[in-house]
Amino acid sequence: MPFLPATTVLIPLISAGVIMIFSKTRELYLKIFMVCSAVFALISSLLMYPAVKDGGSIATGTGYLAWPLSFTFRVDALGFFFAMVFSFCFLLIIIYSLGYVGHGHARVRYYSLILLAETAVLGIAMSASLVGFLVFFELLTVSAYLLVIHEEDEIAMFAGAKFLYMSLAAGLAIFFGLVTVNYLAGRTDFVPGGYLPASPLALYALFAFLLGFGIKAGMFPVHIWLPDAHPAAPAPVSAMLSGLSIKTGAYGLIRVFHDVYGIGLVRELSFDRILLALAVVTILLGSALALQQDHLKRRLAYSSIAQIGYILLGIALLTERAMLGALFHVFSHALMKGTLFLCAGAVIVQSGKKYISQMKGIGFEMPLVMFSFALASLTIVGIPPFNAFISKWHLALASLESGRGVLVAVLMASSFLNAFYYFPVVITAFTPAEPGRIRLDRIPASMLWTTLVMALFCVGFAFARPHWPVMLASRISALMF
């Protein structure tokens, strides 16, 4: 069914438009419509599985702009993997949002913007060329900026401005890279194995790509927008930014490394070593800084920086197993960090507490939410056999196989730090301030069960049989090398 990549992107786009136009209708209808479109986007992306599972691809052409600037929707196994993660997490986040912004201001704006953001991330995963990628990248910047400043207070405006300027800079950097690629090779699409000829200009373009995607992904020297934007945004938006939006940076790097430059050229320009060094610094710095935060969402944001470091590490090693680890970490981190941010949002909604030091005994007031938090933190620390352990395992083995044993030490040190900034939250939450009875959570039902479902998926996927996320990731990485 060749129209599937296009429908996956267009369903949320059109729905966003419809919601904007019919913003005066009863809100219940808008909510139902929004959830339905998210479900259809999920179904549409899952339907692509049979076509892509053996390395095939589906393409939908559009006549927009003339060659070489035309952009086409095309999906292959890698794009499918990201689209699946994105559309699934978006469905849960959208349902959660119904409860979270349910009584706040500017709800219709929020609904249409979150669908636009879904369009953007799915479009990024579906693009067949750098041009389409850039278009949706900019759409993501704009929609995510407006979502970050949803609260419209001073903190949100400052964080939003920082996010906007840096994302725009990222867009410009990618634009420079795109122009250069087009100049050097006369094409901008993604071809397995790459096509760019070696030239000094290619080095500058790759640097620009690294800067652009690095800003989006929250890589070390340009991560600074991330710890401000996450706490300022509403919780579901933080979950979206951290779980999905920063993965688009990693996705872009994978595409540029493998499908534009080719790993031979990347090695020749020794960019794998640069990225490796940056990834190691990102992991250690993110973990070390997370340890010092008292603001829960800020701690989670720094942890996201550390976790994106794992993914960059897997990309930088340029081996099959490392890619498997990186891809699977995209999957597991989206679920884990999604859960953690949703829990943080639930805590804010019920009790208004934002700081970990205030959360003494909160586990007895909202046991299900904090149970989900505990499950997700067990997963993120890498207790075998849960999701993150699988990815960390493959990353560690890959670094041993490529003869860099010291990376194992980095991974383990980071796991250790993970334990020491996640367990205190759980332990503080379950240390009673005064002896009291356990009560059930008092938050909207849609928030509660989406959080629980996500938490159970963090743990439950370790026991799926056959374990198709790992199978898929391993098949994709086998196709790439």
């Binding site: 300027y165 075998p384 056999p385 026991f463």
Partner: protein
């Protein structure tokens, strides 16, 4: 096989149920669970068939063929699991009325972890249950809830998690070298295995968590902790680590050094904790020798030790429950208004239990400690430093337990608040009975030994040696009782150089960490404020450019025929882009590079 796995699987349902059920139902359920554990222990003793079970397979199976949660009944696991289930059944019975529901639920989890490690078929399962035990055993300490206990629990968690990470690194390296998860001697990364297992098994510099953690837990939980944590380490050492002189020597050093520390303690449970390290040293020595007799002796001592150490912790717990203190100084010389009759008259059953435990741990004939110590001595015979060190440690043990009984029970005169509950006393009686029964008829446990050593232990020379050791301990005690008494009553700061040294090391480490933290945060705050200043300046400039078009004083002065500077910028950028695009489509070369390169 499924029957013996119930302690591993059932807590998933039973533990949450224990928290939420009302009081009566909870006790009934826990009692059922205890009977089930006892039945499992008896079943293991009667000779369960060796077989393998796979419960859940995980993602790893897709690439490695090894499934998560697969279990097998190794001869070593049978004897270890027998000890775990039996002693934890006693421990749960002991805490039936006095432990909090959360404590009981977590204790079930800890048992699941220990039994899971014992039955694990591959490294993955092993590591999972290893971490389960780490988390649950620390949770038992956290649940005490006092500030001191939480501080200690953090330290324990820190050490244990470090150990778990070392083990993970070891397993990754082993897998890299061997290509399989099978539970075999490590082919690479032996150092990481030793460090990782060493934390759990309390190898010498790493043993500190035992005296930190065990006395900090609630007293019924101490019984569970004493039965499980270090013994799992011993089991892992027996199963995984290759035997060697070094390990045997480490074991005997543990035995003697910890006894020395134990002599200086004046808290009941701290004293017992140091004895755990010491007795674990015996087991490690036996396991490290690697001979059939040595391994059998080590594992038999594992079971015997669990029984009598649980008994001792139960008796100490009874003292705490009755008087509210465990400090020997307070017990011995209470303030006037708080003194009462001699404690052994108030709690005769606990005193008798403590006496049986003390006799067993010092290796008196007719008690179970004698049996395993005899086997260990036979294994160590002729291996010079190990044999002597173990003998000396035996003397130290009986000396220190003479002190434990004399000052903690016979001479103690603290007033009693309440009497031990019925189940506490029943548990004490049952454990004491098992100590004596397995001591008098040692062949009962012969069936469990992996190398089928015959337990004909009552030879004339063995009995006389044992009596000599116990007797010399008692004689030394009679001679030094005054000195020991003064040691108990000395102010805490002057207690001993060793105690000070023991405390100084962690304090030094904490000071270093705190200093590093200070430096780090100072540098960070400097860097942060600098970066913030730069960014604020940059963004303010941007916002001026962005939000007040046509109103900025700077840009009003530079305008060209009514076009504002900011508009001009936009026009120039678009122009540049358009020019580049045009150049590209018309194939005009804009960028030149040096053709000579």
């Amino acid at each position: 096989m499924m029957l013996v796995l119930t302690p591993v699987i059932a807590p998933v349902i039973v533990a949450p149920a224990l928290i939420f059920l009302p009081e009566r139902l909870r006790r009934a359920l826990l009692f059922l669970y205890i009977s089930m554990l006892a039945y499992v222990a008896v079943y293991l003793l009667s000779g369960a068939e060796a077989e393998s079970v796979t419960l859940l397979s995980s993602a790893f199976q897709e690439r490695t063929g090894i499934s998560f949660l697969s279990f097998t009944l190794h001869p070593y696991s049978r004897i270890a699991a027998f000890g775990f289930t039996l002693v934890v059944a006693f421990g749960l019975l002991y805490g039936l009325e006095v432990a909090s529901p959360a404590d009981q639920a977590v204790a079930l989890g800890a048992l699941a972890g220990a039994v899971g490690v014992a039955f694990a078929d591959n490294y993955l399962t092993f590591l999972f249950f290893w971490e389960v035990l780490t988390l649950t055993s620390t949770a038992l300490i956290f649940l005490k809830g006092t500030a001191a206990a939480i501080r200690m629990a953090w330290r324990v968690l820190f050490l244990q998690l470090t150990g778990g990470l070392f083990l993970t690194v070891g397993i990754i390296m082993h897998y890299h070298a061997a290509g399989s998860f099978a539970l075999a001697a490590p082919q690479a990364g032996l150092l990481f295995f030793i460090l990782g297992i060493g934390v759990k098994a309390a190898f010498l510099p790493l043993h500190v968590w035992v005296p930190w953690g065990y006395p900090s837990a609630p007293f019924p939980s101490s019984v569970i902790l004493a039965a499980l944590c270090t013994k799992v380490g011993v089991y892992a050492a027996a199963r995984v680590l290759p035997p060697g002189e070094g390990i045997a020597l480490m074991g005997s050093l543990m035995a003697i050094v910890a006894v020395t520390f134990a002599l200086l303690q004046s808290d009941l449970r701290r004293l017992l904790s140091f004895h755990i390290v010491s007795q674990v040293g015996y087991m490690i020595a036996g396991v490290g020798l690697g001979s059939a007799v040595g391994v059998d002796g080590g594992l038999l001592h594992l079971v015997n030790h669990m029984i009598y150490k649980a008994l001792l912790f139960m008796s100490a717990g009874a003292v705490i429950y009755t008087t509210g203190t465990e400090n020997l100084h307070d017990l011995h010389h209470p303030p006037k208004e708080e003194s009462g009759p001699a404690l052994w008259r108030v709690i005769p059953i606990a005193t008798a239990g403590a006496l049986v435990g003390a006799l067993a741990i010092s290796g008196t004939p007719l008690f179970n400690g004698y049996v395993s110590k005899y086997v260990l001595k036979k294994a160590a015979h002729g291996i010079s430093p190990v044999e002597t060190l173990l003998l000396l440690a035996g003397v130290g043990t009986s000396l220190s337990f003479a002190k434990f009984i004399f000052f903690g029970f016979i001479r103690a005169r603290y007033r009693s608040l309440r009497l031990p509950t019925v189940t506490m006393q029943v548990a004490i009686i049952l454990s004491a009975a098992s100590c004596i029964i397995t001591g008098v008829w040692p062949s009962l446990l012969e069936n469990l030994l992996p190398h089928h050593t015959h337990l004909h232990v009552y030879s004339a020379s063995g009995v006389t040696t044992a009596l000599k050791i116990v007797g010399s301990g008692l004689v030394i005690f009679a001679l030094t009782a005054k000195l020991l008494e003064r040691g108990i009553h000395a102010p805490a700061a002057l207690n001993s150089a060793a105690a000070w040294l023991g405390a100084a090391l962690p304090r030094f480490g904490a000071a270093v960490l705190r200093g590093m933290d200070k430096l780090f945060s100072l540098a960070l705050s400097l860097l942060g404020s600098l970066a913030r200043a730069v960014y604020r300046a940059a963004f303010n400039a941007f916002q001026k450019l962005d939000y007040r078009p046509g109103q900025s004083k700077v840009f009003q002065t530079i305008n060209i025929s009514n076009i504002d500077f900011d508009m001009m910028l936009v026009v120039i950028i678009f122009g540049a882009i358009a020019f580049l695009y045009l150049a590209m489509t018309l194939n005009i070369q804009v960028f030149y590079h040096n053709p000579l390169r």
